[in-house]
C-alpha cells in the first residue's frame, strides 16, 4: 500500500527507460530483463522520472483520463509495486511538487500493464555486461 506522500524515482544505477508510442521501454541493466509498460504506462514512467509523489501521480491520472479514482489507484499501486519489486524504481525522500488540473477533454484510460522480456538471458550468460560501466560513463556525461 503506497501513501499519497510517497515519492518515487527511477533507480538509475539499475534501470534505464524511455517512452515511445505512449509506452515505456525499460531495461534492467543488472539482469538483462527488459520491459514494456503499456496502457497509460508511458505517462506513469514519465511521472516517476520526474520524481512525483504517489498522490500527485494519482491526481494527474484522474485529471486527464476517464477513470474512477479507485480504479486508477488500484492500477497505479499494482504497477508501481511491480516496478519496485523488479528494482527499477525506488522510494525517495523528496521530489517535485505538481498540482494536477483537470483536462477539458479526458483521454481514454487503458490499464497500465508491465510486459516482461527475458530473451537476453542467453546472450548475457555467454558474455555478461561488466558491472559499474553505466555509472562511470553517466558521471562523465554530466560534466562534459
Amino acid at each position: 500500500m503506497l501513501n499519497p506522500s510517497d515519492y518515487l524515482e527511477v533507480n538509475l544505477e539499475r534501470a534505464a527507460g524511455d517512452v515511445i508510442d505512449g509506452e515505456a521501454i525499460i531495461i534492467n541493466l543488472e539482469t538483462g530483463v527488459y520491459y514494456s509498460m503499456q496502457g497509460i504506462g508511458g505517462d506513469i514512467w514519465a511521472m516517476i522520472g520526474a520524481r512525483r509523489s504517489f498522490g500527485s501521480m494519482l491526481d494527474e491520472i484522474v485529471a486527464h483520463y476517464d477513470v474512477d479514482r479507485s480504479v486508477a489507484q488500484t492500477d497505479l499501486e499494482t504497477v508501481a509495486g511491480q516496478l519496485l519489486d523488479e528494482g527499477l524504481i525506488r522510494f525517495t525522500g523528496s521530489g517535485s511538487a505538481y498540482g494536477a488540473r483537470n483536462a477539458e477533454t479526458k483521454k481514454q484510460y487503458a490499464t497500465p500493464q508491465l510486459q516482461v522480456y527475458r530473451d537476453m538471458q542467453d546472450l548475457l550468460a555467454l558474455d555478461p555486461p561488466a558491472p559499474g560501466m553505466n555509472q562511470i560513463a553517466w558521471q562523465r556525461s554530466g560534466s562534459k
Binding site: A16, I20, I25, I27, L124, A130, I136, K144
Partner: protein, 302 residues
C-alpha cells in the same frame, strides 16, 4: 596505472605495427605489438587510412603470465570489472586488461595471445574503452547490422539469431555496401562501421581476405530500420513496424553490451526509432529478402 606501465614496457621491448585509421569520423592511431598485431588489426583492416593527427591513440601489447598475475586477472569475475582509477577507466577481464584515459585520448590494452579464445573474447579489451570514448563524442556502439546503397543506410536490428548477419551479407548481392553485422556506430542519422565482421573474414589465418573488399563502406546516412526474422516462409514479407518494435529490437542488447551511459544511449535510440521508419522483414528466400531491401530504399525515395 599498472596497465599503462605494463603495456608501455611491452611495446618498448618488442616490435610494433602502426596503423592510422578513421573510425566513425575520428582519426585513430593503432600501435600494436607484432605478436598480437594480426588479432587486433584484423577487425579494423577495412577502415580507411587517415593522415590526420590522431584524436585517439591505442596501444596494444601481448599479455604474459607475470603481467596477468600482477594485475590479478585470475580473480576477475566472468563479467569483467570496470574500475575508475586516477581519472582513467580500467576494464579488466580474465584474458585482457585495458585502460582508457578519456582526457588524453589514449587506450592501452594487454591481451593474451591465445588462439583458443573466442572471437568475441579477443575483441573484448577494446570494445569497452572504445564504447566509452565514442559515447563521449555522441556515437553509440549499437548491436546491429548496417548496409548502404549509394550512401543510404539500412540499420538491421534484432537479437542474436534474428538474421542480421544473414540479411547484411545477402544485401551485398543487390549492390549494397557492408558496414557491419554485429556492432556499428550511430550518431544522429549517421551510421559508421566500427569493427570488421567475422562473416567477411574467411579465416583467422587470412584476416584480410574478404569476399567483397570493394564493398566495405565506412559511413552512411540512415534511412530506415529493418527488423529481420527468419521464418523459412515461401516468400519474404516486409511490413511497417512501430517505433516501439524498433526500439525493443535495437536498444536492450545494445545497451546491455556496449552503449553508454545507458539512459542517454536509450534516449538517443528512442529518438532514432521515432524519426526513422521501421519495417519487419519476415525472411524466406534470402535473395528475395535482399531485393526487398533494395526496393525499400527505392520506395523511401533514397
Amino acid at each position: 596505472m599498472n596497465v599503462r606501465r605494463l603495456a608501455d614496457a611491452a611495446l618498448a621491448r618488442g616490435i610494433a605495427e602502426v596503423r592510422r585509421l578513421t573510425i566513425a569520423g575520428t582519426a585513430v592511431e593503432l600501435i600494436v605489438e607484432r605478436e598480437v598485431a594480426q588479432m587486433i588489426l584484423a577487425p579494423f583492416a577495412h577502415l580507411p587510412a587517415s593522415t590526420d593527427e590522431p584524436v585517439l591513440r591505442i596501444r596494444v601489447a601481448a599479455l604474459n603470465d607475470s603481467d596477468a598475475a600482477e594485475l590479478g586477472l585470475d580473480s576477475v569475475p566472468d563479467s569483467g570489472a570496470v574500475i575508475p582509477r586516477d581519472g582513467t577507466i580500467e576494464h579488466l577481464h580474465r584474458h585482457s586488461a585495458a585502460l582508457l584515459d578519456r582526457d588524453a585520448g589514449e587506450i592501452r590494452a594487454l591481451i593474451r595471445n591465445d588462439g583458443a579464445l573466442a572471437s568475441w573474447h579477443r575483441a573484448k579489451p577494446l570494445q569497452v574503452p572504445l564504447s566509452i570514448f565514442f559515447a563521449d563524442r555522441g556515437v553509440d556502439l549499437v548491436h546491429g547490422g548496417l548496409v548502404s546503397l549509394r550512401g543510404n543506410g539500412l540499420l538491421i536490428a534484432g537479437n542474436s539469431g534474428s538474421g542480421k548477419s544473414t540479411l547484411a551479407a545477402a544485401s551485398l548481392r543487390e549492390g549494397f555496401d557492408f558496414l557491419g553485422d554485429d556492432c556499428v556506430g550511430v550518431r544522429d542519422r549517421e551510421g559508421y562501421s566500427i569493427f570488421g565482421s567475422s562473416c567477411l573474414v574467411t579465416s583467422d589465418d587470412e584476416p584480410k581476405t574478404v569476399f567483397f573488399p570493394e564493398r566495405i563502406a565506412a559511413s552512411t546516412t540512415l534511412r530506415a530500420i529493418v527488423l529481420p526474422r527468419i521464418l523459412r516462409a515461401r516468400h519474404v514479407t516486409m511490413t511497417p513496424a512501430s517505433g516501439k518494435e524498433a526500439l525493443l529490437a535495437l536498444a536492450p542488447s545494445s545497451i546491455l553490451k556496449r552503449a553508454v551511459p545507458a539512459a542517454d544511449a536509450l534516449a538517443r535510440m528512442a529518438r532514432l526509432a521515432r524519426e526513422l521508419p521501421a519495417f519487419r522483414l519476415e525472411m524466406g528466400p534470402i535473395a528475395e529478402a535482399a531485393v526487398q531491401m533494395r526496393e525499400l530504399l527505392e520506395r523511401l525515395g533514397a
